[in-house]
């Protein structure tokens, strides 16, 4: 009984992947490419060789974290779309400590990681406070915070963290603050373990502790939670802080955990959209930390495998992106449906 309940979302997700792939095949065929060969290239490009697999995971790493931000929000009853901005600040925080504050090895790495996470969490406190004490809707406040974070981060990157002579990016992380590269054949670093570890930690927290239970209860049924003595402000702040930590880590991972630049671009080009992409990943992963990891691997596979599909079969990069969208859309349907049902169709 228990296992079948746990497997049902997985089965639903797999069914919708299949649906999305069929719709994508029609699109590929409509543009005059053979769908079979295209999908073969997609799979081979993502998982065909050791280096491809590692690169897929490199693309998946930040997404499993930004997906976590959104997923924890939903579990706590919040529609937190602020991962993007929190991630920017996380990248800035990590860049500052990693690039400008020399420390001994390992300590430096840990400090830079924590600085990124802390910066993300602090930024998340703004919408959290607005929600908890002023009742401001988090969709509005997180969108606004995203914009403020964008310009603030660009300002800091250009004026505080700039490297003289390299206008396009900030100072690079010092070698003591870089995650070890797992294989010269890809851009994957050990930061992937930190990301997975953090996702598992959040899973254990939400499903294994009293505070986690309260958070989920407040999300499922706010009235019952209040009746049971759960303080809603506390839940809101906790939800945002966990999300901010995850998003901050995602931003940090692209600076201190991704060669070859080891720095933040002045345009924020190496982190932009990772936060928004996380929303789709979370929907695919059914707002579950572990589902988010799987969803992120799928997104990473589309990013990395799409490369070979374009290279070998000639499927245009725009079409590759459309395909990503179709699959994501199809996969988001069950979750979207249950979200709508929970929110609006509840008797």
């Amino acid at each position: 009984m228990r296992t079948s309940r746990a497997l049902r979302p997985l089965a639903e997700s797999l069914a919708t992947v299949a649906l999305g792939l069929v719709a994508g095949a029609v699109l590929i065929w409509a543009f005059g490419h053979p769908p079979g060969a295209a999908y073969r290239a997609l799979v081979l490009g993502a998982f065909g060789t050791w280096e491809d697999l590692l690169e897929t995971l490199a693309f998946a790493t930040p997404l499993m974290l930004t997906a976590l931000t959104f997923a924890v929000g939903v579990r706590g009853g919040l529609f937190n779309i602020g991962a993007e901005g929190q991630m920017y600040l996380g990248a800035v925080g990590a860049t500052f400590v990693a690039g400008m504050v020399p420390m001994p090895a390992w300590v430096h790495l840990a400090a830079a990681t924590l600085a990124g996470m802390a910066a993300g969490a602090v930024w998340a406190l703004i919408p959290a406070a607005l929600k908890a004490w002023r009742g401001a809707h988090e969709v509005i406040s997180t969108i606004m915070c995203n914009w403020i974070a964008l310009h603030l981060s660009m300002y800091l990157a250009i004026n505080l963290l700039a490297e003289p002579g390299r206008a396009e990016r900030t100072v690079p992380a010092l070698p003591t603050a870089r995650y070890p590269v797992l294989s010269e054949d890809s851009t994957l670093t050990a930061v992937v373990f930190v990301a997975v570890g953090f996702a598992l930690l959040v899973y254990a927290y939400l499903w294994g502790t009293r505070a986690g239970y309260e958070l989920r209860l407040a999300g499922e049924n706010p009235d019952a939670a209040r009746y049971a003595g759960v303080r809603p402000q506390r839940v809101v702040v906790l939800t945002f802080v966990i999300g901010g930590l995850a998003a901050g880590l995602a931003g940090a991972s692209q600076v201190i955990g991704r060669p070859p630049a080891w720095s933040l671009y002045a345009t924020l080009g190496n982190v932009t959209t990772l936060g928004f992409d996380g929303i789709g990943v979370a929907l695919v992963g059914r707002n579950h930390p572990i589902g988010g990891i799987l969803g992120a691997v799928l997104f990473g596979a589309l990013a990395q495998g799409g490369r070979l599909m374009e290279y070998e079969v000639g499927v245009l990069s725009e079409l590759v992106r459309a395909l990503n969208g179709i699959i994501v859309f199809a996969m988001a349907v069950p979750e979207l449906w249950s979200l709508i049902r929970r929110r609006f169709l509840r008797p």
């Binding site: 280096e51 690169e55 002579g165 630049a261 671009y265 959209t273 490369r307 070979l308 290279y311």
Partner: protein, 441 residues
């Protein structure tokens, strides 16, 4: 009998040899080149489109095949270069734009049998910095350009126009102050001063003395904030500058906006005021108001690199140049003319209009401001409206640079730039405060 035996042996040997030789002669390996764009991608009408055009020219002339890899995010650079390098048929991988420098340095080390080229990159200097023992990598070439010479040519053009229209200034809108831009700045000012000397000799009726405030210049501190380009240019045109040189990429659109405003209020169909394009031929953006462009021929870089690989000269060239090849005015590489800097001409315009048409097809957005024939005729009319001696003088400077009769100063270090600013003009024009206010959309 004996001879017949000998004949048979000879036949067998011949067949065996033919058999051995057959795989190489009958089925030559396909020669592919791969062009990896930066995040600007297809349709940028500048670096990336020019690189792809260079690849197309190479396809036409050398019978190679080009594969295009468009980078969507910065994280694509390494995987895209890697993907191309793993194709056994690809012999040359081109990374377009300085953003790919780090990625090229990394990937080129891992594929020693493949040839890598970066356009406008500094990958070898990164190799020197990070992996000193491997420097210079034998399979990696940075292709860079003599922007100082091209800037001198358009600086001269601006000063000559100032003389013709009796205007007191020319201007330059720069991006972030990085050493690369000093090359443009000093070249531009030097060219303007050269023109005043030319005028004194050849057109005394139009001559004026070079003043240190003749060239107005502003470092906006950005390569993306278009309103700052607008604000900086507007201040220059308010001081009656005849032309403003765009040395800040997309900020040219801001300069164009400032020109357009004047054109509209005074109902002008043609400059002055003008502006001067950069990198690509930008004359089509606002036909009649872009007097010319300082072109960095990215396409030539891709084209030459393909030829060097095809002719087996590539690695030798890398060895002799420490991996940095400079294309410019009158440059010769491996005994052949290989130029990469020029002032735009009417003929170049066709190529770029074609590029615009292609970009419209690819992106589905309106790119060209008018039909190709209208653009061409407007640019032609504008060029013909300028006195012939202006164009002749620019051509003369180009010839003198090419023949080595004059040397355009190259400023790359801080002492260089300070010395030349002392000689050619020191005080920059501060960016007007309005530039810091939110742009009206």
């Amino acid at each position: 009998m004996r001879s017949r035996m000998g004949l048979a042996v000879a036949l067998v040997v011949a067949v065996a040899l033919a058999g051995l030789a057959a795989p190489t002669t009958a089925a030559p390996r396909a020669f592919k080149i791969a062009v990896v764009s930066d995040v600007g991608g297809r349709g940028d009408l500048s670096f990336n489109d020019m690189a792809f055009k260079g690849g197309e020219d190479a396809e036409r002339d050398f019978g190679v095949r080009m594969v295009e890899l468009v980078s969507k995010v910065e994280a694509d650079y390494v995987p895209n270069l890697t993907r191309a390098a793993r194709d056994p048929d690809v012999q040359l991988i081109v990374g377009v734009g300085f953003l790919l420098s780090d990625a090229l340095a990394q990937v080129a080390r891992r594929f020693p049998n493949k040839n890598f080229v970066g356009i406008d990159t500094f990958a070898q200097s990164l190799v020197k910095e990070k992996f000193a023992s491997q420097y210079p990598l034998p399979n990696l070439m940075d292709i860079v350009y003599e922007e100082h010479k091209g800037s001198a040519l358009v600086g001269a053009l601006g000063a000559l126009l100032a003389a013709h229209y009796a205007k007191p200034h020319i201007g330059g809108v720069f991006g972030i102050e990085i050493p690369v831009l000093w090359k443009f700045e000093v070249g531009y000012k030097w060219g303007a001063r050269w023109a005043t000397e030319w005028l004194a000799k050849n057109r005394p009726d139009k001559a004026f003395t070079y003043r240190k405030d003749f060239v107005l210049w502003t470092y906006t501190g950005t390569f993306s904030d278009i309103p700052k380009g607008y604000a900086a240019a507007k201040a220059m045109y308010a001081k009656n500058a005849v032309a403003v040189y765009n040395i800040a990429g997309p900020l040219g659109l801001g300069i164009n906006q400032a020109v357009q405003e004047i054109a509209r209020s005074q109902k002008l169909r043609m400059g002055p005021p003008f502006w001067i394009g950069v990198d690509a031929n930008q004359d089509w953006i606002n036909p009649g108001f872009v007097i010319a462009s300082m072109m960095k021929r990215v396409d030539r870089g891709v084209y030459y690199a393909t030829r060097w690989v095809r002719d087996g000269q590539f690695r030798d060239l890398v060895r002799r140049t420490q991996g940095v090849v400079t294309l410019g005015v009158g440059t010769r590489i491996a005994g052949q003319v290989a130029e990469g800097i020029s002032v735009s001409t009417l003929d170049d315009l066709d190529e770029f209009i074609r590029m615009g048409v292609q970009a419209e097809r690819l992106t589905g957005k309106k790119v060209l401001p008018a039909t190709p024939t209208e653009i061409k005729s407007k640019v032609k009319t504008m060029r013909e409206a300028q006195p012939k001696w202006v164009w002749d003088a620019v051509a003369e400077l180009e010839r003198k640079i090419r023949e080595g009769q004059v040397t355009v100063p190259l400023a790359v270090t801080r002492p260089d730039i300070q010395r030349w600013r002392g000689e050619l003009g020191y005080g920059p024009v501060p960016l007007p405060a309005a530039a810091y206010r939110a742009p009206a959309r």
